[in-house]
Symmetry: D2
Subunit: 383 residues, 4 copies
């Protein structure tokens, strides 16, 4: 356990000169364990392991087969696989896989509910596999161990080589964890509200079991309730015209966005699309939400970083000619109409992402390898 | 008390699927009261009030006299003023001030110790007055109420008009507070270390009473130990050549900086010099440290935001031709030599800055008024 | 004629020390009249004037009627109007317009050819009206005088108030001109080429009379040949996945773009969409082409400015999963398929845009008014 | 001669519709040979060659000796070397160099005038050697061939390996040239003007023979007249306070700069300091001047690119508390006082920089190798 340092700042002294004090408000006190000390432990031995592999990438097949075989035969775990994965023709032809295929438990994405059935997740491939894991588990997420195949990813810190030792180490409970905060996004539909009155109120509570979409029993669009790991994006969609979007924070109108769109991202998402749009990079253990405009038509619209506890609301400006489109970690794209609103808060269900080394080293290694962050030859050019 | 919302995110659920848990580590747990609920209360009625006014700005004189007179005559407080302020020829000519001048307590900056003598601070003028207050109080800072005269400042949210009601309101204990985190900066001198061996160890503890500079009892440069509210800047100084600076985080070498310099700032500082160097803007209640290069000679050196609990170390690269210069909130400029190092952590002594409205409204009002953040005419130009 | 200064740099001395010389190459010499000295003159008095008004903006109606009436009755000019304009119900109800309506000549956009019929163009409204004028005239463009109604535009420098004096002044030949360079864009279709063999070769010459689209006599997509005033944009369209675009300059592969897309713009376009994507602003008389990525997934993809004489080629990378979409000044959106290529060069047909003052003053006034470029209160905030 | 393409755009058609024309103004016409066709030729065989080597870099010694020996013994040229170079102790110890040392002609920088004595310049080392060559020749510059040792530089395109073939090729007159425009900078001193009345008028003409500094025959500061290849920088110098600088273009007040300073650069300089300050990169054959703020205190102060023919004037704002400092290609740092002004125009004396391949290929190779411009692994990270 190499690092015992703290990532939280020390508690501030709460006396300000001889007389000033903070007024105590016990209702607003929370206990926080330092992120640097977060380690995974197992309440009981994990048995059911979900293996997610990158699609349409033949280089993942062999590692996938090796891993599944080893988990079943050596670790005696129950391996879950999305059923479409087994339909891959290349996999079907793989002789080694024939022997273990029938031992895998399959499920159908969008039909079968995985809640409480999976103890552990292993991802093979790019950052997309982790986004998919996040999508599958819209409430509590089992611990995720993510292997990259090829170059290091922001969300995939493990090398596949000697995977046996590394998985064994994690199963024995010796792993540092990054709790990657997710954003809870709710689209409140104007018309749906009208139709259904107040019956969809509980969409606003975070514990509904229905997952991504509520039932649609009227001809209006239903509410959408979805957790994102990286970002929710509001953009102009196929329209050639600019969107006008109003942004509210805790009920206050903050600004209006004119441009290609707006990105609301978690710290994990600050190194994804927000980065391309010009954001600073935020370490995943900083409790914050990042707001970044996409190609804004104002020279002064710099990205901002706000505390993780705020509630954002986004809606189409009343005087906007156009509607907008919303997408969640790059999926579930849908139109946001006049009168609809998108609410965003930090979810209580983070993705527990297992570190290869520790939170700090994993992050800076990703910056260097994925983004070439300030990596260069000692600059002979500019002397 | 208009806002009861939270700025901290809700505590994450600490079960990850049926088996995964966070390993409890009670030594690493801290209690945090939500920043949105921070309000000032008085343990006993404040009596000694320090009034800081902007220097060399004649428009501040009349408000200064009005305020001091009112504090003495109506509020029966003891008003402290830096002695140099009273030497201002314009103030000496002010007849109204003649009557109250003798009732002010004076002190000499750099000679008299104010610790435990001041209950309350009122600033009149620009953001510089608050930086000066921060400099004066290198440990616990009395509550600060800051008036702008003219345009709103990031650190000066109050309008002077009807100051009487506003000060009274604060004295009665009804004010929201922003605890502005400060950075504790220590320069560890190579030669000084050699000279003094380990006797300056306690420089590293935050409780030494000596303030800005340790005693200098050898011919080597002493250590410097100083708290900054906005930022510590390392730059090439008068040298035409680029500095090469090594940056370490929790002992790990993170990157080398080639360029004009580096800014390490608190969230409050993200809207000061770091902003000019291209940083995103970070709300003061996000517990973070911002690292921003100044004119870096790498296209890929984007600013980063790291958790407030880390320890940064900055030193001259061994192969650098040049030394660097360090300055603290724009003051105390000094050379950083080969072998010296600058350590930066978040201090336990924030500046308790009294809000005019609340943390969120004050910040966004400053963004709009000070920075014209995304403020514009409805864009007829770009349609 | 206030300015007699030069915008072209003086000719460089072509002797380099006692022996070095430039090798003369008379085939590559061109004569350039200094942009600062460009003034409009009339070979014969202009008679036919095309009036373009902003659509869907009721505030333009009254100025439109005033202007048309004055041109017909006072100036005895023949006023051309797009026929759809006359269908506007608000205009039909306008009594004053009833009297002059029948005196207007109408044409149908996309059906009637205006070549050699229009002597002079007046635009009323936003920058969009000038983009539309550019679209209508795909070869030589008559001189354009553009009025803004409301706030100044980059392309619309004239105030409508006292339009009579200003138009008269221009008709008398006293106006400074900005020749706004346009980009000639050709999409060469892979399949179309296969179908038609070499018969569409002459698409590559700039003098075909057909305007925007070549004839489509096969089931493959035809070539597109279009001049843009601001920019041609290649983006990922409705696809959630990133495009991979290859960029060639004079036949050399320069870079591959991974991100939301790429903007190739004229200097006029540097203050339009390219600006929102982070480009520097380029004065319209700098002979250059600007290349700006849209949300690139590389920290180091800074915009570049290349000489106006180069030929650019853009195509989908062979290994890209996705196609891209191309749009021209925000219009004519179409898919770019694998094997297709987009060629971009500077056209010989600029838009002769009449200055309100002169090239320099008009541009800086637009920067200040449209973009608030470095406009601010004397900074009390950041002192 | 591989490229016969053009870098200048084709001449625009100068008829605008049936009636509009450009008014001819023969006084303002200039002839421009296309930059892509610029090749070096020799009026008579070059005999005197100046060799400039990077200082304080021992890796340059051996190539320097090889080159000088070869030029003298094989090419029978007269080699000029700055006298300080021969004082280098390492060079003195080099046995091989002993034999040729006496055959070198030496001169003293700042004392001996090189005008009309040097036919050809060879630089060995970094970009700094070319900046030094530019400084030495303040009027016509002999053709410069620049070798990098180690990584490619923006100004040093040649590899040293097989230098014999490459130099021979250039001496035979087969080389493409980039004419790198320089900026002519004049500081007009307020007090000097007062002292000297109009006698320094001819400082404003570009042909005075005195080089960098005019004679100083009074106790006021003299005018400075200097050509820069990369940039002239105005900054706050050692002052902790921001400068307020006024910027004028062709006599018109354009904007006021508040921040760390301002960079006025040639296109060559757009990839030097201006790049670090956020400018777009401009190809050296675009006739333009780039204006880039350094850490401006306005969110909206984006860099701009203006035509090469303008005249810029920079002075301290009358209400600025501070003066500023000016430096020229990183040298000759001096204070700019209240009332002084700095004038900048494009010089008629470019630096004729010999291409390794051609203007386009050399530039894009430098972008990739020096700046890693958009260079990255095919992005597995961000999928």
């Amino acid at each position: 356990w190499p690092r015992t340092r703290s990532l939280n700042a020390p508690s501030p002294v709460q006396q300000f000169g001889p007389c000033g004090r903070i007024m105590k408000n016990s209702a607003m006190v929370m206990q926080i364990q330092d992120p640097a000390s977060q380690r995974l432990t197992w309440y009981k031995p994990p048995l059911a392991v979900l293996v997610i592999k990158k699609v349409r990438d033949s280089t993942v097949l062999s590692p996938f087969v090796q891993l599944v075989e080893w988990l079943i035969q050596e670790k005696h775990m129950v391996v879950w696989v999305e059923s479409a994965v087994l339909d891959d023709p290349l996999l079907i032809q793989d002789k080694k896989f024939q022997n273990i295929k029938d031992k895998c438990v399959t499920f159908k994405d969008g039909r079968d509910d995985l809640t409480d059935r999976i103890d552990f997740i292993i991802c093979l491939g790019g950052d997309g596999t982790l986004l998919y894991a996040s999508l599958l588990f819209q409430q509590s997420v089992p611990p995720v161990m993510a292997f990259h195949l090829g170059s290091l990813g922001f969300l995939t810190p493990f090398q596949f080589q000697n995977f046996q030792d590394q998985v064994t180490n994690v199963l024995e409970g010796h792993a540092a964890l990054t709790l990657r905060s997710r954003l809870r996004c709710i689209i409140v539909r104007k018309n749906y509200k009208d139709h259904k009155n107040d019956s969809d109120r509980n969409d606003l509570a975070e514990c509904d079991s229905s997952g991504v979409n509520s039932i649609n029993n009227s001809n209006a669009l239903p509410s959408t309730n979805i957790l994102v790991l990286n970002e929710v994006v509001i953009d102009r969609g196929p329209s050639p015209y600019l969107s006008n979007i109003d942004l509210f924070l805790d009920g206050r109108h903050i600004t209006s966005v004119q441009g290609d769109g707006l990105i609301v991202s978690s710290p994990s998402g600050s190194t994804a699309y927000a980065l391309a749009a010009g954001a600073s990079m935020v370490h995943p253990s900083v409790p914050a939400i990042m707001i970044t405009p996409i190609c804004p038509h104002s020279l002064s619209f710099r990205p901002i970083v706000v505390p993780a506890g705020v509630e954002l609301k986004i809606s189409i400006s009343p005087d906007s000619r156009n509607t907008s489109w919303v997408s969640f970690d790059g999926r579930n794209r849908q139109e946001l109409l006049h009168g609809d609103s998108l609410r965003v808060t930090t979810s209580i269900y983070p993705v527990p992402s297992i570190c290869s080394q520790d939170q700090i080293s994993d992050w800076f290694d990703s910056l260097a390898e994925c983004l070439h962050w300030n990596v260069r030859k000692r600059q002979k050019c500019l002397d």
